[in-house]
Amino acid sequence: MKEYDVIVIGAGPGGYVAAIRCAQLGLSTACIDKWTDAKNKPSPGGTCLNVGCIPSKALLDSSHHFHNAQHLFPKHGINIGSVELDLAAMLARKDKVVKNLTRGVAGLLRKNKVDFLSGVATIGAEKVVAVAGTDGSTEQIRANNIIIATGSVPIEIPVAARDDEHIVDNEGALSFTAVPEKLGIIGAGVIGLELGSVWSRLGAQVIVLEAMDDFLPAADASIAKEAQKILRKQGLDIRLGCRVIGARTSDDRVAVRYEDTNGQHSLEVDRLVVAVGRRAYADGLGLEAAGISLDDRGRIEVDALCRTNQPGIFAIGDVTAGPMLAHKASEEGVAVAETIAGQSAHIDHSIIPWVIYTHPEIAWVGKTAAELEAQGVEYNIGSFPFAAIGRAQGSGDTDGMVRLYACAKTDRILGVHILGTNASELIAEAVTAMAFHGAAEDLARTVHAHPTMAEAIHEAALAAGSGAIHM
C-alpha cells in the first residue's frame, strides 16, 4: 500500500493549494478528487473552478460587455446599431476558461509531484484511505496526515426539487442553452444576485424571491441598502420576505407559489434557479467510522488550526464552519500544510474579505456597523462616495461609496466596506492595512495615485479622522 506524508481529499481551492504547499515543504502528497467534466475526464479545481467562482465571473464579464454594448456605448458616442447575442459562443468561452484553469491546476499538481487520484475517497481505520477510481479501479493508500477538503454543495429544498432542466442550481444556471424570458431565482444571496445579474443583462426578466426580510444581512447596512436600490434600478425584481412554498414544472414553464405577509402568491417563470445557500459536504467519507465529529450543521468540527478530533486528520474550507469562500479555504490549506511540516502557522480569520460580483461590486473586510454596535465598540466613520472621485466621473462608474470604520480610541481600522466598480480589487488595500493593525491615519497618510478609484479609500480614511479633502 502506498504511503504518503499527506493525503488531501478534494482538489478545490482548499485541497489543491494544500497539496501544493505540502509538496513545496517536502512532504510526499497524494490528492484525491472526484470531479469530472462532461467527457468524464478528471477536472480538478472543485466547485470554484468548475461551477462556481470562475465560470460565474466569466459570464458576469461577458454579460457586462453585452449590456454595455447596448446601453453604455451610445452614452460614449459609440453607435453600433443592434447588438446580437451568440449565447453558445459566450458559454463556450466560459467553458474554455474553466478548462484552461482546471488543466492549470492539474499541471501545478503534476509539477509539484503530487500524486493525483481521480475518484471518491473513503477514510478507514488507521488513516487508510480507499479510493474508488473514476475509471472503475480501486486502491488503498495511507498517510500520517489527512486533510479533508471536500467542500460544499448547494442546499436543496423539497418545495423546489431540482430537475436540472427547469429547476436548477448554480451549475445549471451557468449553462442555460437559451436566455430564459422570465427567470425566477430563490435566494437573494451572493450566488442568486450574481446569476440574476448575468441573465438580466442578457435580456431575461429576473425575479428574485428572498425569504428573509433583510437584504444582504451579512453586509454593512448602508452598503446593502444602496446596493439594493442600484440592483432594482438595473431591473432585478428583488422581493424580500417571500418564502417559496411550491414549484411545479409543466409545459416548459415553472409555476412558483410563494407566501409573504400579504398572503400567498403565484408566479410563472421559464426557469427557476435554487440559490438558497450551500451546505458542508462530507457525505460518504466514512467520518463516523473514522470517529471524526461533525457539528449540528454537518460541518466537520475543527480547532483554530483546522485539526479535527482525530490526531493527524485536518479539515479545511467549506466543509468546516466559517465563511464559505475560496480564499479562506486556500489560507487554511497553506496553514495546515505548514503545521504538518512543523512550522508555526497562523490563520487570521478576522480579515478575510468578502466579494459580491454584481455591478457595481460589493466588497468588505472586518466588522460591519451592526457588529460594532453589538460589541459596544466606539468607532469613527469615514464615508466617501465615488461620485466625488475624478476617475469615477471619467469612466462613468459613479455608483457606490467607501465606508471605513476605525476605533475611536486607537484609530485602528475595524472594517472597510466598498460598493463600487472594482471593489473586489480595491478591498485588498484595506485587508493589507488591517493585517498590520493599521490605523485610519496610516491609510490617510499613504499616497494614492490620481486619478484612481482607490482615492475613495484615501478620502474615507481622512473622513474618519481630520476630514475628507474632496467633500
Binding site: 476605533c407 480610541k409 486607537t410 484609530d411 485602528r412 493585517a435 498590520f436 493593525h437 493599521g438 490605523a439 485610519a440 491615519e441 496610516d442 490617510a444 497618510r445 499613504t446
Partner: protein, 421 residues
C-alpha cells in the same frame, strides 16, 4: 617592546582611584601622550596618557575598577607601528551597524505613517513603547495608549495647575508648569485663584520635604550605550515571547543590573534606622508605573531570585493592575531600592528624589541617538543618561559612582550579568 601603562603616583590623601572609560580598546593603535583613560579620585580626575606609541595589547583594569599608585593598568607593544583596520574591528565588541544618523529612534523606517507622526509630535522614543501589532509592530493605538498612560503628570496634559482633580507628582521629577489658559488668553488680567491642596497632594509634599531634610541627597550621573541591549532584544525578543509568553522590555535588564550592583555595594541597598544601618540580604525593587491617578511605585520582591521573564511578567502585571487601579497598599510598601523611568515622559536628565526610607534611586531617561566617540571615531549611538540619587549619610560618593558604573557596564555588556562580573 612591551611597555606598561601605570596609574600615576597618587597624592598622599588619595588611597586609590577608579578607572573611568577607556578611550581605546585592546587592538587599537595609540599615539604617545594620547589620553587612554581617566582616573577618578575623591578629589580630582586624572588623565593617564600613553607613554609610547604602539598597539594597545592589554587592558588590565577596566572602567569602574579601582587601582592604586603605580599599578599597571594596560600594556602597549611599541614595536607595532600600525595595525590594519581589520584587527581593530575584530577586537571590538560586535557592535553591529550604527544607527542611521537621521533616525530619531532605532527603527524609524519601520514605523507606519501614523505612528511616525504621533511619535515625532510627542517626541517619544518608539523603542520604549510596548508594541501590540503583528510581529511586534508598533501601532498607532500602542502609541496613544502609551501617551495616555504617561499623561498623569500636569506636564503631559495641558491641565491648569490648580485644578481640583488630584494629580499627584509622584516620585518622578515633574515640575508642574502653571501657565493656565486664562493667563495666556488675557494678558491684561491679573486675578488670582485660591484652591486648597488636596490631602493626597499635602501628604506627598510632606514626604518629599521630609526626605530632603533627613537624607543628604546627592545625585551622580553617567550615560549608557543602549545599543548592545537593543540588539540583543531585537535578536531574541521573539524567542523570548514565544518561550515565556511575556514581552521583553528594557526594565528587566536594568533590574538585573541593579541587583548585581546592589549586591556589590550593599550600602546602597541599606537603610539608616535611628543609629543603626540595616543591611538587606534581598533586593526588593520598586518600579514606577503609570496609573490613571498618577505614578505608583509597587515593589517587585526578591528580584535577586527572579529571571528576566519573571521580572518582565511582574512589571507587566503591575502596569496592568495600575491601570485598573487594583494594586494593593501592601504592594507599595517596603522596597530596598527604586527604579524610575523619566524617559517615558521625555526626560533627558534629572535628579530623582529618594523614596524614603530607601537610600538610593536609579533614574532612567529617554534614549537619544547622540554622537559619541568610540575608538577615536565619532559614531551615533542610542545613549541614555542614568542618574543615581543617593543618601550620602550611608553611601559614599565613590560607591555611588561605582554602583552606577556597574549598572552601566552590565547594560553595555549584558554578558556581565550572565557571568556575575
Amino acid at each position: 617592546m612591551i611597555v606598561d601603562v601605570k596609574i600615576p603616583l597618587l597624592p598622599e590623601s588619595v588611597p586609590d582611584a577608579t578607572l573611568l572609560d577607556w578611550t581605546k580598546q585592546v587592538g587599537n593603535v595609540v599615539e604617545k601622550d594620547e589620553v587612554l583613560v581617566e582616573l577618578e579620585t575623591d578629589k580630582v580626575v586624572l588623565e593617564v596618557s600613553a607613554p609610547v606609541s604602539g598597539l594597545l595589547t592589554e587592558i588590565a583594569k577596566v572602567a569602574g575598577e579601582i587601582g592604586v599608585s603605580n599599578e599597571v593598568i594596560a600594556r602597549i607593544d611599541s614595536s607595532v607601528a600600525a595595525t590594519p583596520p581589520g584587527a581593530s574591528a575584530a577586537a571590538e565588541a560586535p557592535a553591529g551597524t550604527p544607527a542611521p544618523a537621521s533616525a530619531p529612534s532605532g527603527n524609524a523606517e519601520s514605523l507606519s505613517p501614523a505612528v511616525r507622526r504621533v511619535v515625532d509630535e510627542h517626541k517619544l522614543d518608539a523603542n520604549a513603547i510596548t508594541t501590540s501589532g503583528p510581529g511586534g509592530r508598533l501601532t498607532k493605538g500602542d502609541v496613544l495608549a502609551h501617551i495616555d498612560a504617561t499623561a498623569a503628570t500636569p506636564n503631559a496634559k495641558a491641565v491648569p495647575a490648580a485644578s481640583s482633580a488630584p494629580k499627584p507628582a509622584g516620585a518622578a521629577p515633574a515640575a508642574p508648569s502653571a501657565v493656565s489658559p486664562a493667563e495666556a488668553a488675557s494678558p491684561q488680567a491679573r486675578g488670582e485663584r485660591r484652591v486648597p491642596m488636596t490631602r493626597l497632594r499635602q501628604r506627598i509634599a510632606e514626604r518629599l520635604v521630609q526626605a530632603q531634610h533627613t537624607a543628604a541627597i546627592l545625585t551622580t550621573f553617567n550615560e549608557v550605550n543602549m545599543q548592545p541591549v537593543m540588539e540583543l532584544r531585537k535578536r531574541l525578543r521573539d524567542d523570548f515571547e514565544k518561550n515565556h509568553g511575556v514581552r521583553l522590555g528594557f526594565m528587566s535588564f536594568f533590574a538585573k543590573a541593579a541587583v548585581q550592583a546592589l549586591q556589590k555595594f550593599p550600602a546602597v541597598n541599606a537603610y539608616i534606622e535611628d543609629n543603626e544601618i540595616v543591611y538587606h540580604d534581598y533586593c526588593d525593587i520598586g518600579v514606577a508605573v503609570g496609573s490613571p491617578r498618577g505614578l505608583l511605585v509597587p515593589i517587585v520582591r526578591n528580584v535577586e531570585h527572579m529571571n528576566f521573564a519573571e521580572i518582565e511578567g511582574a512589571i507587566a502585571d503591575y502596569g496592568q493592575r495600575a491601570q485598573a487601579g487594583s494594586i494593593g497598599i501592601e504592594e507599595l510598601n517596603g522596597g530596598t531600592f527604586t527604579i524610575s523611568n523619566g524617559g517615558v515622559f521625555g526626560s533627558m536628565l534629572s535628579t530623582p528624589i529618594l523614596n524614603p526610607p530607601q537610600s538610593a534611586i536609579l533614574g532612567m531617561h529617554a534614549t537619544q541617538v547622540r554622537p559619541v566617540v568610540e575608538n577615536g571615531e565619532i559614531v551615533a549611538r542610542p545613549m541614555m543618561y542614568l542618574a543615581l540619587s543617593y543618601d550620602h549619610r550611608i553611601v559614599d560618593g565613590r560607591e555611588a559612582v561605582q554602583f552606577l558604573v556597574t549598572i552601566k557596564d552590565c547594560i553595555e555588556d549584558p554578558g556581565r550579568m550572565l557571568l556575575g562580573v
